[in-house]
Each structure stands twice: as C-alpha cells, then as structure tokens.
C-alpha cells in the first residue's frame, strides 16, 4: 500500500474518533464512529487482513452502529444541554489520558522492532477466511464454544433486561 494511503486512512480514523468524543449531538457522534471504523477497516486491509477488515465493516459499521443509532432515536436523545463543567475533574481526566498517550509513545519509541518495516509475505492471503476458520475450529475450538455460550448468555440477558417488569 502506498504510504499516502496509510496516512490518509490513519488521519481519517483519528480525526473522526476525536469527533466522536467532541460532538455534543449523539447522532453526530455515532455517524463519526462509522467513518472512524471504515478507516480502521481500510488499515486492516492494508495489513493483508481481508477477513478482519470485512468483519469490521459488517459487524461494527453495520450491526453495532445500527444498534447505537436505533437506541439514540428510540430514546429521542437530543444534544445535551451545557452544564456547568467541573473543570478540576475534566482537567484530571484529560491529563490522565494525555499521560497515557505519552507513555505509549515513549514505549513505542524504545521498542526496537517498531522501526522495522513489515517483512514481505510469499504465500497467498486472499483465502485467509479458510485459514482463520481452520485455526478457529482446530486450535481454538474450546474458546470458540465458550464465545458461543457468551453470546447465548448475552441474548438471554438482553431479553430479560428489556422486558417490562410487571408492577
């Protein structure tokens, strides 16, 4: 992938991720999140992870975002009114996030392998669905079934939670 595409999609992802946090209107935040996830899917494809990129678009930009938008419109959430901000708490939270970012940047800077470029791949990655599926059902069979139970529990839990309680 040409470097300018990496910079384009990386900045797209980061700018719209920041827009998610900055926007006051929840609908605008959700739509920014869609764009951010699409940029992230492009980054996955640039790393030869086609299956993960497609899943990212289908599950996140498709299903999860529809769920978010559906809930926002169901609850009829408006842009939140300006409240008196607690500046000390906001400065504390922002500085913790900033310190985390600085620490991550320093760790990456000290990491030797981070300066190397990606080694070339000789095999074909276009059938990575098959390879991931084989790994999923052979080496990771038990975690896969546990994930299935988790999804079942989540489904039952959501039905129970959203059922209207008799008064």
């Amino acid at each position: 992938m040409p470097p300018f595409l990496f910079w384009f999609f990386a900045s797209l992802t980061l700018i719209f991720a920041a827009a998610v946090v900055i926007n006051r209107n929840p609908v605008a935040s959700a739509l920014s999140l869609v764009v951010s996830f699409l940029g992230l899917a492009a980054l996955f494809v640039s790393l030869d992870a086609y299956f993960v990129g497609i899943i990212q678009v289908l599950v996140y930009a498709g299903a999860v975002m529809v769920l978010f938008l559906f809930i926002i419109m169901l609850l009829n959430l408006q842009a939140e009114e300006r409240r008196r901000t607690n500046w000390i708490a906001a400065a504390g939270g922002g500085s913790v996030a900033l310190i985390l970012l600085i620490e991550i940047a320093l760790t990456i800077g000290r990491f030797e392998a981070a300066r190397k470029t990606f080694p070339p791949i000789s095999g074909s990655t276009t059938d990575d669905v098959r390879k991931i599926g084989a790994a999923l059902f052979r080496n990771y069979n038990l975690p896969f079934q546990i994930i299935g139970v988790l999804v079942l529990v989540a489904t039952i839990g959501v039905v129970l939670l959203s059922k209207r309680q008799p008064r």
């Binding site: 999140l33 790393l47 978010f68 809930i71 390879k131 790994a135 839990g157």
Partner: protein
C-alpha cells in the same frame, strides 16, 4: 514502506482518544462508543503484529486474527447488553447522564 511503529502509534492514539472519552464525557451512550474505540485500538495493534510476524510458510500469523475475531464477538455482545441496561435505566430515570445516577455513590 510504513514501519510497524506507525501502526502501533495510531493504535495508541486511538486508545487514548477512547480513554479520554470515557473520562471526560457524561453521556452513557458516548461512553459506550468510546469503549468501542478502545477495543478497536487493541484490534489494530493485534493485526499489525500478526502481519509483522510472518511464519516460515510466508503467511501472517493467524493466531492474532483469531484473537481479533474473539474481541469483535465480545464487543458486540457487550454493546447489546450495555444498550439494554441503558434502555432499562432510561425507563426508570429518564436520563442517560452519569451525573444523575448517583444513588450508590458513597
């Protein structure tokens, strides 16, 4: 060519943005979206390391991508449960602001 560190740095910035969203915003829906951003930052660094570690067959290491698959599944389940809790809360209190939900606060 783009070195590995650039992808890791994008992942780190994305994680920090999500973390800042969780710390600074008071709307529960935005907090859930920021959690999604943090999970996706972890996915990005996993995929980058998967591509970086080429095995003798000349293929990326697919173990990391299986892990990403698990993370996406767990995140989808988490969003479903989180939004169900949000709807139940909104029915009881008519608010999604964390400042209004302080009954259990010490």
């Amino acid at each position: 060519m783009i070195p590995l560190g650039h992808y890791l740095f994008v992942s780190g910035v994305l994680f920090s943005i999500g973390f800042a969203g969780v710390m600074l915003r008071r709307n529960l829906i935005i907090i859930l979206m920021s959690l999604e951003l943090m999970l996706n930052a972890a996915n990005l660094s996993l995929v980058a390391f998967s591509r970086f570690r080429v095995d003798p067959n000349g293929l990326p290491n697919y173990n990391a991508q299986v892990f990403v698959f698990f993370i996406i599944t767990v995140a989808a389940a988490e969003v479903a449960v989180g939004l169900a809790i949000l709807v139940a809360l909104f029915r009881a209190r008519q608010t999604t602001d964390v400042k209004d939900i302080s009954s259990l606060r010490f």
